[in-house]
Symmetry: C2
Subunit: 325 residues, 2 copies
C-alpha cells in the first residue's frame, strides 16, 4: 500500500493498549491519537493521549476510529455517536443485543456516509465466521462451541463477592473427553455444563473459614452449582505471579453428515496467551477492511459476515491468489 | 429464499456425484441437468444426464453451472468456455496455475456478463481462507499446513507402477509429535518430509518378491525416499474392503506473537470420511454466493478471498446476525 491508514484509538484499557501494540506490527497503519475519557495527564504511558471531547477536531485527519470501550456502557453510546462522524470498528460482544446495536450504528453510519464494522474479535467474530461457514457447508450436522482454557471475568467476580475472600480467579476449562467425543463424530447431546469445568484460585482473608468458603462457591447457583468445580486456596503472591495473565481460547466444532452417512468434521480453535491482545489484532485486521470499503464508496454498518477475507490483508488480490490460494 | 437456484453439474465422476448428493441436503437448489462427455446412455444412475454438447441450449434455464471436471485437462478448457455462457463455480486445484486460470476465466466471464468463482474446495479453498485470515490477524508468526490422514492419489499411482504390484493405496499421515510441537508454540523449522509419514497398503502379483518391492517403494526418489515409509502387504479383498474409502483432511496452524512475546495459536482442521463429498459440499455453498453476486449485477472471476461468508448461507443477513454472530 502506498499510503498509510490513519487511525485513532478510543478507550485506553487492556484492549486499547493491545491495539496500540498490534498497530506496531502492521506498517501500513499510522496511529494519530488515543482518546480517553480520563484526564490525559492521568493516563500512564501513551504518547498523544487526547481527551475524548476533542475527537471531532480530528475529522479529516483520521481514516478509522478503533473503538475499545466496553459493551455494557461505553459502546452503546459511543458506537452510534462516533459512527456519525468517522469510519469505525468495534468489538461489541453482548450477543443478544447485537441486532439492536447494528441498527443504531447503521443509521448513524449511513447518515454520516461512514463504514462501521461492529462485533469483531473472536466471539463474536472469528468463532461466528466458523459457525456460519461450517453450517453453510454441512447443513446436516451439529455445532459445538467450547470456551477456554481461559479466565472468566464474571465468575472471578462472583468468587470475590463471597465473604472472607480477598481475591480470586476462575478458569473455564473444556472437558477434554467431551471434545474428543465430538471430534470422533459421536454427536453427544450436551448442555454448557457438560462441556466445561470450573477451576478456582482463591485468596482468603486472615482467619477465614476455608471449608465454608469452598462450600459457598461450589453451591453458588447459576455460576458453579451445576458444574464440576475445584477450589484451590493460594497466597496473594502466588495469585499475582501465576494467575494475572489473561489467557483464553476455545474451539468451534461441527460434526456433519454427507452422502451415505459419511462423517465430516470441521474444527476451528484458538489458544491465546493474551485474550485482549488477540482481540486487538483482529480489530486491526478489520480496520483495514473498513478503510478499503470506505475508499470504495460504501457506507453503513457491517459485520464479519459481510467482509471478504481479502480485505483484511495488506496484500493485493493478485498477490493473494499467487501466494495464499 | 423464495425462488430456487437452478443448477447444472458438468462432469459426473466422484465430485459430480458428490454435488448431486449435496444438493439434496440444500432445499434452496434445483438440479436441472447433469452434463457428461460420455454417451448419456452409458452413464449409470443419474436422472437427466445430457451430453455436454447440448449445454448451450440450457442458457436461461440454469442459474449456475457447477464444474466437476479435473484440473489437469478438463477445467483449463471448460472453465473459460463455460464462463462465457453461464455463471460457474469450480474447484480448480493446480496451485501454481491459478493466476493464469483466473485471468482466462475472468476475461470470459466479463465478456459474458457472468460470475465465476474458481478454486473452491478445501485446499485450495477453506485452507487458503484460514492461511489468509491467520496471517492478516497475526502478521508476526509462522504458518504450518499438515495434510492427512488421507489417500494421496499420486503416491498410490507410484506404488502401482512398481513391478510385481497389482494394486496399492498410500496414506499421507501427519507426524503427531510435530503437530503437538506447533500447537505448543515451539515454532519448529520443518520441511514437508518432517511433517508427514507415508503408509502403503500393497497387493502383489503371485510369486512376486516382496522384499524387493518394499525396497523399491521405500527408495523411490521424490515420492518415498526422504520420508518415513511403511509398507504393508495385504490381499486384494482386504484392500477392497478396508481401503477403498476416500478419507482425507488436514490442519492449518499459525503460531503468532503479539505484545511482549505472547504466543497466539490459530488452528483450522478437517477430518473427512469422504474427500469428494466434502469438496462437493463446499462447491454447493459457493454456488449460492455465485447466484447472489450475479443477481447483484456483478461479473468476472472471483476466488474465496472475494466472497463474504454471509453469501454462503440461505439465511438473510438479519437472521445471521441474530442467530450466529
Amino acid at each position: 500500500m502506498s499510503t498509510t491508514i490513519k487511525v485513532g484509538i478510543v478507550g485506553y484499557g487492556n484492549l486499547g493498549r493491545g491495539v496500540e501494540k498490534a498497530l506496531k506490527q502492521n506498517p501500513d497503519f499510522e496511529l494519530r491519537a488515543i482518546f480517553s475519557r480520563r484526564n490525559p495527564d492521568d493516563v500512564a504511558a501513551g504518547n498523544g493521549v487526547v481527551h475524548i471531547s476533542e475527537v471531532e477536531k480530528y475529522k479529516g485527519d483520521i481514516d478509522v476510529l478503533i473503538l475499545c470501550g466496553g459493551s455494557a456502557t461505553d459502546l452503546p453510546e459511543q458506537g452510534p455517536e462516533l459512527a456519525a462522524l468517522f469510519n469505525t470498528v468495534d468489538s461489541f460482544d453482548t450477543h443478544a443485543n447485537i441486532p439492536g446495536y447494528f441498527d443504531k450504528v447503521n443509521a448513524a453510519a449511513l447518515q454520516g456516509g461512514n463504514v462501521s464494522v461492529i462485533s469483531t474479535g473472536w466471539d463474536p467474530g472469528l468463532f461466528s465466521l466458523n459457525r456460519l461457514l461450517a453450517e453453510s457447508v454441512l447443513p446436516e450436522g451439529k455445532e459445538y462451541t467450547f470456551w477456554g482454557k481461559g479466565v472468566s471475568q464474571g465468575h472471578s467476580d462472583a468468587i470475590r463477592r463471597v465473604e472472607g475472600v480477598k481475591n480470586g480467579v476462575q478458569y473455564t476449562i473444556p472437558v477434554e473427553s467431551v471434545v474428543e467425543s465430538v471430534r470422533k463424530g459421536e454427536d453427544p447431546v450436551l448442555t454448557t455444563k457438560d462441556k466445561h469445568l470450573r477451576e478456582c484460585y482463591v485468596v482468603v482473608e486472615e482467619g477465614a473459614d476455608k471449608a465454608k468458603i469452598e462450600r459457598e462457591i461450589k453451591e453458588m447457583p447459576n455460576y458453579f452449582a451445576d458444574y464440576v468445580t475445584t477450589v484451590n486456596f493460594i497466597s496473594e503472591e502466588e495469585l499475582k505471579s501465576n494467575h494475572s495473565a489473561m489467557p483464553h481460547g476455545g474451539t468451534v466444532l461441527r460434526s456433519g453428515r454427507t452422502g451415505e452417512n459419511n462423517t465430516q468434521i470441521i474444527e476451528f480453535g484458538l489458544k491465546l496467551d493474551s485474550n485482549p491482545e488477540f482481540t486487538a489484532s483482529v480489530l486491526v485486521a478489520y480496520t483495514r477492511a473498513v478503510y478499503k470499503l470506505s475508499k470504495d464508496g460504501q457506507a453503513g454498518a457491517k459485520t464479519v459476515f459481510d467482509i471478504p477475507f481479502g480485505l483484511l490483508s495488506p496484500k493485493s488480490p493478485e498477490q493473494l491468489r499467487k501466494e495464499l490460494l
